[in-house]
Amino acid sequence: MNPLLEQFLSESREALQNIAEKLMQLEKEPTSVDLVTELFRFVHTLKGNSGLFELPELTRVIHAGEDLMDAVRSGRVAYSSILADRLLDAMDFIGILCDEIESHERIDARHGSDSVRLAEALRQLIVSTPPETAPALPSEVAATANETEKISLPLELIPETARLAAYRSALQGNILHWLAYRPVEDCFFQGDDPFYQSRQTPGILWVSIAARSELPKLADLDPYNCLLDFTILSCAPREELDEYYRYLREQIHLTALQPHALIIPQGDPNGGPVYEDFVADALLLLQTGNSEGLVRAARSMLELSNPDLWFSSALRWLLLVIECEPANHAAQEVILTSLRTLTPLVWENPAAPATIAAPAPVVATVTETTALTPATTVAQEMPPEIMAIVAVQRDILTMPLDVNWSGRCKGAVAALSGCLRAFGAAAAVAGLEQALQDSLADKSAEPLLEWLDNFFAASAAQPQTEQTEATDPLQSAALQEVQTDAPVTTTAQADADVKFGRRTEDNFSGPKSIKVDQTKIDRLMNLIGEMVVAKNALPYLAGRAENVYGVRDLSREIKSQYAVINRIAEEMQDSIMQVRMMPVSFVFQRFPRLVRDTSNKLGKEVRLVLEGEDTEADKNIIESLGEPLVHIVRNSLDHGLEMPEVRRALGKPTVGTLTIRASQESDRVVIEIRDDGKGIDPEVIKHKAYEKGVISEEQLERISDQEAVNLVFAAGFSTAEVISDLSGRGVGMDVVRTAVEKVNGTIRLESEKGKGTCISISLPLSMAVSNVMIIESNNQIFGVPMESVVETVRIPRSDIRSIKKSQTTVLRNRIVPLKPLNTMLGIAAPQKANEEDKLAVLIANVFGEHVGILVDDFHETVDIILKPMTGVLAGLSAYSGSALLGDGSVLMVLDIKEII
């Protein structure tokens, strides 16, 4: 996952928790201005963050929440528990979206309608306050527009060919959608092209464009104020449409169409002969099941008639219905009947003939249908799911009386009234409440059960017929309002609000990242380090088992156990390292600003190039890098890069380039700072160093150019003529070197006069555990850090030459100076040779040069935790620290640079 998104998720979770917390506090003191301000700030931040990503569903809800909180903050809306409920609901919804983003890295478009509803619920609270603070929000306008459109869909506007095609497609299993798209008026300024958007709608069958209202006269027309409405007929599944319009969810209104609603014959109703005979014959053919004959008759009739006639249009529909649904005789009969009378089609509904016998196109939502039916027949209209709920409530009511009986009764009644309201039978709720009161008074469930039996008697008697009704497409309302889009009426608000609340006990999914105090991590790392060292005791133990106690088998077993522990310890070490790893971008991110400000102040033109920002290293290492890098970059800007005119005169591009590159080389991080400035003149450095007393006159003559350049790292050195506020106080590079060496890093400077300078810093990836080689001298053991060990060799005493007082040898054609360790440590004893009279030489790398250190013997290498010398020992510069070995002895680790 993209790290930015990851961070967003963890921050959002935190923000959600904070919002919930503040809301709870606000419940206790609803007038607290501080709390409201804080709450607003959280919501505002969350919204701002979400805007970085393409998450329209999420942003829409948070935006509404922010507007609401802003209104609360400015006192336009008072805090209420409804407000808290809705806001909490919205936050739960956002939590769900966050979970989804985490698992799928995107939000499914199916959340679109929920998102719109939640946003509207929040905005309603802003609008329902005093009139002067009720700006008509675009979504509100769209919402009310949707309401009016629901009354009737002008399906007859669709040309017959498109309707025929749609019908055919619907019967192949596609669901038809009528999509009303009303772009916002300023959509052109947002770069939208609603026409293009409409044309690209998936499964598009037909588009129509109409002006929203009478367009103004040409002279008054603002071409960039969108006044057009788009209507689209599509056969794509709802999810696909939701996905396609996910950014415009507030601007569209979707209605699912029953295919039969499209059968609207059109044309000239007059001028044709009377078709009584044909209709009679056709009905007969239909009844006898002779569909071939019917098709033939209809075809020949169609050929004889003028194609523009209403009659012909109806015939075309008849042929299509026969072709697509040969078994649906009812539909064919309806068409034939209407042919006889030349009147629009009448879809009969045997279930409730009185209510739905309206002329086609029949348009009715589920709510309307049930609202028109008398309460006693409501039960017949209820789907099986509701009946199941009712049956469960009945069971609950018949349970034996006990302590919780009255609560249970109330619960059952609440569930039942919810069902009733949802199906438009709110009037019956009063009767139910009355029955509840009676029941509670009598302490018996009888009144309630009686009411239930009366109300639902009819449905219990005929469950079978209900099944068939549901499957017959002709009998349900011709159009069905898409369920999730059902308008939320204010009376049923409490029940109809979709709750996204997640109880803490079920499906709690906590954040995937945790913030931990660094000291805890450090402690863990120290412990793991101790573990690494402690495991080193096992090989000693194995050795003792074998050598001292003579139990070879036990020794072998200990060794195999050691292998297992070793593997686990290494993995632990690796994991804790991963925890502490940070990208160098943490340090790099300050440079663009630093370079910009500094170069502006100096009047130089600089282009900064950052590379390898995602290279990772231990947190301590990264943090220790900050200071030195700032020094180096300032130096490069101040001393390295020339003024633009100088550069132009030299034939260089006026804009200087400063490159900071990070890369990983095996177990080290290398940071390179390169500029294409004037470079360092070794002669100038030499003389400066001599003037400041850094080198002697003798050294001045001998020193090589490379050595001279590296003198800038010496203490108290500065080349700048004038001490500016940027650099030049003579501490710069010295401090840099010390800081780098403190974390076991090395720094190297290369420079070519006139071409530029390159400083490379090499740092260990981590500093927790170091690898040292154990050497022996005068019966004591010492550690030497592996990074300074080049190789170990045995040299015959005869190969050692003395030049003046120094010993040297030739190793692979190179002269290597030799230094006895005993001498360097002030031990009088000479180095011991082995039985072949060869001396052990450890070739070490000191400041880029090889030095041979004469020791008595070599031992193995071990992983140790280097503890710096503290207290009175801190002054002993010969040692970089001490460590505990597996057998309990103390190992002193030499600081080779200091003792040479």
Partner: protein, 79 residues
């Protein structure tokens, strides 16, 4: 490509962007009898369409792109 404005007609070619709507409006003012030629047009931004609808000028040459012709026929009269 955009709209080429001539004295007697405005020729729409390929996809016509919204930027042209203002020019189109101006041109319609200037040449009230000019014809609109959509023959080579494949898509036009609704801002243009809106201007054409407001102009109530039926002299529009039908686009060769049959789909476009069908879609816009609900909004403007094509010849």
């Amino acid at each position: 490509m955009a709209i080429t404005f001539k004295k007697d007609r405005a020729v729409f070619v390929d996809t016509v962007s919204g930027d042209d709507a203002e020019n189109l409006l101006e041109w319609l003012h200037k040449y009230p009898k000019g014809k609109i030629d959509l023959t080579a047009c494949t898509h036009l931004h609704p801002a243009n369409l809106q201007v054409l609808m407001a102009a109530k000028r039926p002299v529009v040459l039908r686009p060769k792109d049959t789909l476009l012709a069908e879609w816009i026929s609900s909004a403007i009269k094509l010849v």
